[in-house]
Symmetry: C2
Subunit: 585 residues, 2 copies
């Protein structure tokens, strides 16, 4: 037996007991005649003491040779500490060591195994197994495990059945690129790894399971942006005989439960907002509503004056930045530079200082008078002391630019508090979006999403105006879940695929199995999928998902620790019936 | 709202209530003036009644047009049935329908949606979504979900952390063939899908997580035998600072918990048996100990007589078949034919009838006398009325043949009861096994398994005699779990890889990351992995795993429902930097 206790549990209650402990050497203080060692394991730290007068000489000598991260096992007696450490659960005691077994040595770690480490990102990824020893990382992995258990228990208690769907499936042309897997037994053919279990969960609904969920890995062979992994985890859910309202209520319940469980906070009923309203009010379909700074559209009051730029713009829109009236000319110039950065793309920015005495100072003083600015302040809900920032141009672009500015200011002003939770349902998404590149409509959600009954007549005549029975759950400015009521009628599904440009043959080849299934009594159904990686990160009060993933990949999709992907030898390729194309490496 | 109740919950307590139900039309009885319909959902069946005198005419007319598996929604009143059905939880009531909405039609299903269906295997797989509507299949999927929840809750309660390990990893040369995944971003390179998360869970131990588990899909691109899937699910576990004893106790606890939870049966402490003993006693390293028929080795008492075949054999071994003394000559001949089938491969079979009066009748009467047979009966523990079946030949082959006969007789005699649970730990496996094909040693478990401390000296001198710290959990004749205490020392790991024929370069290339990790304070650790598919099937009282998998693949690794794998088009191949080899398809 390696231990009688872990390193987090010994207290004065165990005084004088003989115990056995195991763990890693965290810290050594050698005073010559006495050595203290902090022994660490997953559960905590216990102080060991080697006393040249009370510890056997061979044991004391062995202790002198220990280094950081050595793995040891000790036998000894729990004694009271002379100087107690109130910051440590085990701070009242120490263990006087009688016997020591060295279980393993350690080279000096390439970075410090402390809460604040001196290791950079790349180094920590290469030695991820050492990074995980650090409390902040270890605690995040444990947190993730607790959140997933909470999800499972909540859904199971509500009669959801977790069903495993296959990983080796068939490639579909929609959405992002599939990872494919050559089949040795069916040579020349390929499986695909699922981007989501979408069609399978719908088949489970046709199969009468009614309440399905699964926490499942999904795959996307896309160019990786920051914080997007080629493999990611989804909480995937589907229900039958439900309306959109039923689904929203069910998963609002789950989300409340998770916030309560992780933070002890009871969140009120989630507000709902249409896609259109979200775009108009926040310039964004996943607004962070922890703070205000709502958009004020100024077209009516700012156009038809002398200021040409506004007159020519499709949209003139502003926000009030709290306390911004005190910004210096230099600070404001910097803000203007910020919105003009290529990533944001604004042409410029008009500002109005709302001074504490009610007067205004603006970059467009010569075109507008106090009455105008008063109206602007009203529209943007600007208070004395605020700065009104106004952008103009094409509607969609301008909204995106102002949304970026709003988020930036939210961050700068500390309005995006990590321990505050502001969930929001965004509903009534458009069914389709026009793609300039391919000159055709794409499904905004996916091709299985149903149109709103009242908009069906517009499907062919005005496809862009059709709204979908689709909804996103937004938390603190992040889309954490999204779903829809599905099509369950074969004819409607055919009509949708036709609208998306599928020929009858293609539709049959790709989705024949699903449309066949719809002919055998498919029930009305719908569902939702949560991005677990992001959900866990937000519940954990962080923006980055990486630390919550045990072995993440870098922006090139590489696991630098195991050096994957790697080349295959020719025999392996031959056996798969493949060769590499010339001229590429 | 589609329903106020599900179809399993209405009782007399709800009499006279107005309810709304949804579901599938299971059965229609049309008496002309009255129509009864069994409405089915996941939760049960409720009888609907359409009465031409009490139901609105339009509704009654619509009901006349319904067919099997149509999806409907009804509104009506709960009334008392005239003839109650005590076999149905809702058998006391029926719902008098006032309104009917047809939610979907259905073509006539290709097989009956009944507990006993007329659909064959292939048809049921092609229309798996209809198969799942059948109670026996649906119940198995729900059962699987319950078992996995029980596993997770048990392990979480014991401080195990569920950690997701990556699916896109690096190919390793050991074991079965990997499925590989070409990388678009790193062209010419391939990920592999994990055969198990073995090295990652060891890295998590180096990372100090101490108690890890994961329920995880694994992949094996092997020729498929019956009931083996290319993707399968594992309960994967690893612990640090543990001895073999600690692991056996922990997972014996889990297994007891699962048997208790699913069957209400408390199983005694699991017996333990060395690999050697299992082979000698049952000819098998995963013996079914629900029944006896233990092997009796007869070399000492059956050799050195006149019977040449036995004299020349390396092993003479028999079992006593209960009640077999009553077999006719013809029945015995059939048994002899059975062991001589190519799949079994015995050359012949000697038998001895132990008659009720204590006399013997044998196929080798002329070589042996009653005293001999008495000794045989003693060795095989044969009782009056039994038949002793004796095989001979090379030791390993003969044991395998007799084991097959023992299992066959266990089945025929009904001794393998599906609701009886006889778990067993098999321990002390050999570390290595000799492979005739490659003329080298292979790791019996895997290259990370540690040798027993007392056998380490034999590693180079007598590798075949080295025993491993490895163990299997056997349940009712199936290996449901296997694991080992791992090597945690870099030098020992190098020595092992060398023994397995890895050059230093190869070892470095394949397992460098693991051996590097071992240099930074790797703790002693070990673990176990359970095959979830088989575990669930055995707990569910079945031999076949297929029904417990929502969407299984056939013996060619194909999902016949979605017709996967499939061909890619040339553009897709080109984008991956691949082409198909000529002459293959």
């Amino acid at each position: 037996m390696y231990r009688t206790h872990n390193n987090g549990e010994l207290k004065t209650a165990q005084l004088n007991q003989n115990v056995r402990l195991s763990g890693w050497v965290q810290k050594i203080r050698n005073k010559g005649f006495i050595i203290w060692i902090d022994l660490r394991d997953r559960f905590g730290i216990t102080q060991l003491v080697f006393d040249s007068e009370r510890t056997p000489k061979t044991v004391f000598d062995a202790a002198e040779k220990l280094g950081r991260e050595f793995v040891i096992q000790v036998k000894g007696q729990v004694i009271e500490r002379e100087s107690k450490n109130p910051n440590l659960p085990t701070g009242d005691i120490e263990v006087l060591v009688e016997d020591l077994v060295m279980l393993n040595t350690s080279k000096t770690p390439p970075f410090t195994i402390e809460d604040k480490t001196d290791g950079g990102d790349d180094l920590r990824m290469k030695y991820r197994y050492l990074d995980i020893r650090r409390n902040p990382v270890k605690d995040k992995l444990i947190f993730r495990s607790q959140v997933t258990m909470a999800v499972r228990n909540y859904l199971s208690d509500q009669n959801f059945v977790e069903v495993e769907t296959p990983y080796l499936i068939k490639s579909t042309p929609e959405g992002a690129r599939d990872f494919v897997v050559p089949s040795r037994m069916n040579q020349g053919q390929f499986y695909a790894l699922p981007q989501s279990p979408q069609t399978f969960k719908q088949l489970l609904m046709v199969g009468g399971l009614e309440k399905y969920f699964q926490i499942v890995k999904c795959f996307r062979d896309e160019d990786l942006r920051a914080d997007r992994q080629p493999e990611f985890t989804q909480i995937d859910c589907e229900m039958s005989f439900v309306t959109q309202e039923d689904i929203l209520n069910t998963f609002e319940g789950l989300t409340k439960h998770l916030i309560k469980k992780t933070h002890g906070i009871s969140v009120e009923n989630f507000p709902r907002m249409t896609f259109e309203e979200a775009m108009k009010t926040y310039g964004n379909d996943k607004p962070d509503i922890r703070f205000g700074m709502k958009f004020g559209e100024l077209n009516e009051i700012a156009q038809h004056k002398e200021f040409k730029i506004f007159n020519q713009a499709e949209l003139v829109v502003g926000i009030a930045i709290p306390g911004g009236a005190s910004y210096s000319r230099k600070e404001i110039d910097k803000l203007i530079e910020w919105v003009k950065r290529p990533q944001i793309g604004a042409k410029g920015m008009v500002y109005v200082k709302v001074n504490d005495d009610g007067s205004f100072k603006s970059s467009v003083d010569k075109f507008y008078d106090e009455k105008d600015f008063k109206a602007w302040a009203e529209k943007t809900n600007a208070q004395p002391g605020d700065l009104i920032a106004v952008l103009s141009g094409k509607a969609n672009e301008t909204r995106a630019q102002l949304s970026a500015l709003r988020m930036e200011m939210g961050n700068r002003l500390g309005l995006r508090k990590p321990d505050e939770f502001a969930p929001l349902w965004v509903v009534d998404f458009p069914l389709l979006e026009w793609d300039e590149d391919t000159q055709r409509y794409h499904a905004m959600h996916h091709p299985f999403t149903s149109p709103k009954a009242e908009d069906i007549d517009l499907l062919e005549s005005s496809p862009g105006d059709v709204r979908a029975n689709a909804y996103d759950l937004v938390l603190n400015g992040n889309e954490i879940g999204g779903g829809s009521i599905r099509i369950h009628d074969k004819n409607m599904q055919s009509r949708m695929l036709e609208l998306l440009g599928f020929s009858e043959d293609e539709a049959r080849k790709q989705f024949g199995f699903l449309m066949d299934a719809f002919e055998y009594g498919a029930p009305p159904h719908g569902g939702i999928a949560f991005g677990l990686d992001r959900l866990v990160a937000i519940l954990g009060g962080q923006e980055s998902i990486r630390d919550f993933i045990a072995f993440p990949k870098n922006n090139m999709g590489r696991d630098v620790m195991i050096d994957a992907p790697a080349t295959l030898d020719d025999d392996q390729l031959k056996e798969l019936g493949l060769e590499l194309k010339m001229g590429k490496k």
